[in-house]
Amino acid sequence: MTAVIRPVKTSAETALVEQFTAAKAALPGNATLREQAFGAIVEGLPHRRVEEWKYTDLRALMKDAKPLAVAPEKAEIDAAKKAVPFAALKVPAILFVNGTLAEQGKLPAGIEALALTKAYATDHALLKRFGESGVPSDNAAVALNTAFVSDGILLTVKKGASVETPLHLAFVQHGAGHAAYARVLVVVEEGASVTLIESHTGKGAHQTNSYVEVLAADKTDVTLVKLQNEDLASQHLATLAIKLGAEAKLTTVNVSRGATLARQQIHLYFEGDTTNASLNGISLSGGKRHLDTTLFVDHASYGCESREQFKQVLDGQSRSVFQGKILVRQNAQKTDGRMMMRALMLSDDSEADLKPELEIYADDVQCAHGATCAALEEEYMFYLMARGIPRAEAEAMLVEGFVGEVFDSIENETLKEELLAVTNEWLRTRD
């Protein structure tokens, strides 16, 4: 007989079990699915001995599990609206407050929306499409979301629709001490094009878990831009899962600026042939913050191209993790994948962990990856300063230059400027 040694549960783990036990009867939708999902974490949260979580030891880092948020009052919703970013864009926003769908606004033509609560009530067919991207259901962040989520939205971009106006999904946290779960499904039908902006903002120590799944059919053109700018005392776990059809185009830009502990997971599955994807991101960390971006790209089809470009700027004693894996399956001939990750370290005490991985089973592919870690170039600094630019301004210019390249993949100039403004704001505080 072998005895399985189980460490004592952490207070977060204990609280999660208690919460699930207390809440499950009242949670809508498929109870079995929730039970199954919770099964993945009932024994505990992933820790550093689990390779995928080696650099982000969730068990050690997640000190507590905050209680589930209650639906916000109207006054809270009104107050939360002030924290919605990107006002300059003047685009419609779907507002979530503490994980609850608070306002839907007027949607651009070509997009249909269904509240997740309504989908649960009618057991809508779209619900079955969650997970089609192949994102592992037992991943801790995904499993927690599946187990606890009660609100969200299901969007359909109709066949052939060319939606010019970006659609903004604004997730605002209002108040402190709660955990908010939200879930979004975006079905992009054949030949449609759309730009989705996702923002996470708000003040107070809270915990958020968001799950966004995008299922884009053939010949679609999808742009996804996300800003994570939550309170510096918060915890943000997020999953972006994508499935792409044939001859499609995808651009994603992820900006990770807020939260004490944040993990952005991106799962991309190339289902169709000859599709192009460009995945980009930056993280800005200071203080003792911990930001993680974990990427998995599954090339399962012929002739697809993926470009991954991720940059980190670190200050203080912060830690920034980027792990990116590209899998090229045997039938994915003529795959062209290039992943570049670069860390710019502004302090001596920060830590950047970069882990590029390639796993290739096809024999006619082009794949490359690179990783760099560096301080600011002294030579660059001298050149700028020799022209009269003071040290702080010179540093800011170089950091902006480093980061700016990532924003170049955004076509909307206003949005680009807004994101540069976030970078500038970080450069002033370096927190």
């Binding site: 660059y380 050149y383 700028l384 300063m385 022209r387 009269g388 630019i389 003071p390 301004e393 700016g404």
Partner: protein, 250 residues
């Protein structure tokens, strides 16, 4: 204007002394050429004047119109009117040339408590100066020096000098890597800036540049010191005889 007395400087990392008691006086309005063999310390002198941190001054003084330069950071020296045209201008990806030019001009104006230049005023100024130097506005839309040819980079240095209107301009081998046409354009750019209240220190290996930028005084530098000074004819003599008599190979 510029007064250097008994300047000693060493490389901070390894302590190697490069400048070993250098004296140089450059009066206002004059152009002084510094020639010398490789390794004589010419580029080090330009870096020490501009305030590069890799060097440590162990002895001596450098003043510009009585202002002690050595106590100032590189950006403060620039604001006091020191300009270094780099031998190898750096390519800085992600930093737009126009953004950079405007930042330099405004930083210096702020440091001197002058108002910032307005965007239309700035554009006009850049366009006019760039035209004279044969620099297209298209080029200036790129990242700083990225994708510029060697000659374009050097012209971009002169463009910056013309915009910033320094008191003291140090040209570090501005002629290197230039073909004859580019050399003429660059020299004309420099000559246009000659003024009674502006001095130039022109560092060069070859006499050729001095056909276009006529120096008032030519100095020979060797082993970290000025070992000989004379008129423009000294450059011709060096061209003919080489630097052999100064103890180092050319």
């Amino acid at each position: 204007m510029l007064s250097i007395k008994n300047l000693h400087a060493r490389i901070e990392d390894n302590g190697q002394e490069i400048l070993k008691g250098l004296d140089l006086e450059v009066p206002a309005g004059q152009v002084h050429a510094i020639m010398g063999p490789n390794g004589s310390g010419k580029s080090t002198l330009s870096y020490v004047l501009a305030g590069k941190e890799d060097y440590e001054v162990t002895e001596g003084s450098v003043t510009l119109d009585g202002q002690d330069l050595l106590e100032l950071e590189a950006d403060e020296r620039a604001a006091k009117g020191v300009f270094l045209a780099f031998q190898y201008p750096l390519e800085i990806p992600g930093v737009g040339t126009m953004t950079f030019l405007k930042a330099t001009l405004n930083a210096q104006r702020r440091a001197r408590e002058e108002g910032e230049v307005s965007t239309p005023e700035f554009m006009k100024l850049v366009k006019k100066t760039a035209d004279e130097l044969g620099i297209s506005m298209e080029m200036l839309k790129r990242s700083l020096n990225v994708g510029f040819s060697g000659g374009e980079k050097k012209r971009n240095e002169i463009l910056q000098m013309a915009l910033l209107q320094p008191k003291l301009a140090i040209l570090d081998e501005t002629d290197s890597g230039l073909d004859i046409d580019a050399l003429k354009i660059v020299s004309e750019g420099v000559n246009k800036l000659r003024a009674p209240d502006r001095s130039f220190v022109v560092i060069t290996h070859y006499q050729r540049l001095l056909n276009y930028i006529k120096p008032d005084v030519v100095h020979v530098m060797s082993k970290g010191r000025i070992v000989r000074s004379g008129g423009p004819e000294l450059a011709l003599e060096l061209e003919k005889n080489g630097y052999a008599e100064y103890g180092e190979a050319a």
